[in-house]
Symmetry: C2
Subunit: 300 residues, 2 copies
């Protein structure tokens, strides 16, 4: 339980409703800023303006998944207000008050350093990335079904990378009857691909290996699918690029050759906002509870 | 091979392009009616008007999947012309000339009886239905991912019926990590559901069994999901009804209660026209080849 903890949520989207629900169930005291258009059905959560917040009693501040913009603005979906967090506000919190964000940037990093408060970047955690790989893989399945005129079943599918997302993709596409090959470089990954019953290949042979592919999904944040690779791929091949911007595909050349290639941003919040919110809520609850345990141990 | 066979296609859609490709590869002589807007890239297939057809040499006539309309019109996607097949045309074919259609109706049945030519209804064949269950299940997955805010993974999914489609659905949803239960009546089906590692239930307990469901997919062509059943289901439950019209759901009541329920027509031609065409092309090729073998045996 989180009885006695005071947690402030500033801005956020549908995912944050799941966080509010979870923390409320655990009996935390929840203050909300940037939620003025939200229904009042959330028991145990009170809406405030940034001026009304009782900063002195805060144990944690939860920011949106995107954290802050380059000039310090905080995204709000449930408000028309634009919010920002000042160094003075942050400094008036207790020393242990932890800031939770999805990702960070130079602005937020600097704010945190100046205020000297702990900062947790949830999206950088392995567990969050692995749980998020589930809605990401389902989103890739949805796109593959929607944007091709053939079935995934018996299609030749190549996945580039056996990271946290690549492993889930390999399992999901194979489970639906696709012929899946996975490209990687490390020998341990090539062994794991083989153990999973999939066909491993070294990414240095990518040009040869993609020649007979119907669907290619990239997860590697490097220029993998170059013009040379694209030139040898079947024209009907569909490319889903899940690597962070700018992706690993030569999109200009793909378009020139008339091939369908899509760079897809954060799928979890799009295809399954409720599940994506529950993933964050569960991890946050665990983190907040373990902080409390540490406090208890410190006291003992 | 189908060397020497003369096959006429009248109308049809993208699926029929796969049929033309396949039969052409097998060296059949192919005549096309209702394809005047089709590219001329199809080697071995010649376009004719209905008047130009050499009816006396035909071994087979392939109609669209829909067969004919109630008043005898044949659907053409690659032509603006409206086509029809007369009793005199049909009677001028050789006695063995077989008509292949997806489904039939009173008009076509009568025409066939009058002309006394064999009629094969492809969509009534078990093999076609089983192959088609693959794109159907992928279409259901696509809809489930698209129309819910949670993942299929760990969702509570109920499938009604363990027929040709139900079995594929059960396997596909379970493969993606859903908690799948399947409702059936026959003890052999309940045993098979259990063998597949899924949870069987008798459809007489449907009201109780759907109480905690996130996604329900009906394949039974009978009123299964009644107002009484719907009233006990969670409001967020998403219903996909794959049974033929009018489906097995009380859609009026579902809408009244604010629940999302969709009656989905023939998925294969929508989500995977190329695969759906290949399914028909492969079965047609086998049927035409086995006819030839029978002829050879008769000759011997």
């Amino acid at each position: 339980m989180l009885t006695g903890k005071h947690i402030l949520l500033i801005g956020g989207d549908a995912r944050h409703l799941e966080i509010i629900r979870k923390l409320s169930t655990l009996d935390a005291k929840i203050s909300l800023a940037g939620f003025d258009q939200l229904d009042d059905g959330f028991i145990g959560a009170s809406k405030y303006t940034m001026d009304e917040i009782d900063w002195k009693t805060l144990d944690a501040i939860i920011l949106p998944v995107s954290g802050m913009s380059a000039d310090g603005w905080i995204d709000t979906v449930f408000s028309n207000e634009s919010l920002t967090l000042t160094i003075n506000q942050l400094k008036s919190t207790p020393q242990h008050c932890t800031i939770y964000t999805g990702i960070s940037n130079a602005f937020l990093d600097q704010l945190q350093t100046q205020a000297n408060r702990p900062l947790v970047k949830l999206m950088e955690r392995d567990d969050v990335a692995i749980y998020n790989s589930i809605p990401t893989a389902e989103g890739a399945l949805m796109m593959a079904i929607q944007h091709t005129d053939f079935t995934i079943h018996h299609a030749n599918v190549a996945i580039l990378g056996l990271g946290r997302i690549g492993m889930t993709l390999g399992r999901s596409f194979a489970a639906l009857g696709a012929n899946v090959k996975v490209g990687a470089r490390e020998t341990a990954n090539l062994a794991r691909i083989s153990e999973m019953g999939l066909k491993p290949f070294h990414t240095k042979h990518i040009q040869q290996e993609l020649k007979d592919i119907d669907i290619c999904i990239n997860t590697i944040p490097a220029r993998m699918i170059t013009a040379r690779v694209l030139a040898e791929m079947p024209l009907h091949a569909f490319i889903i690029d899940l690597a962070s911007k700018p992706g690993g595909t030569d999109f200009r050349y793909a378009e020139k050759r008339g091939m369908k290639a899509m760079l897809v941003p954060g799928m979890p919040g799009i295809v399954a906002p409720k599940t994506a919110g529950q993933i964050l809520a569960n991890i946050l609850a665990d983190l907040l509870k373990s902080e409390e345990e540490e406090d208890d141990q410190d006291d003992a």
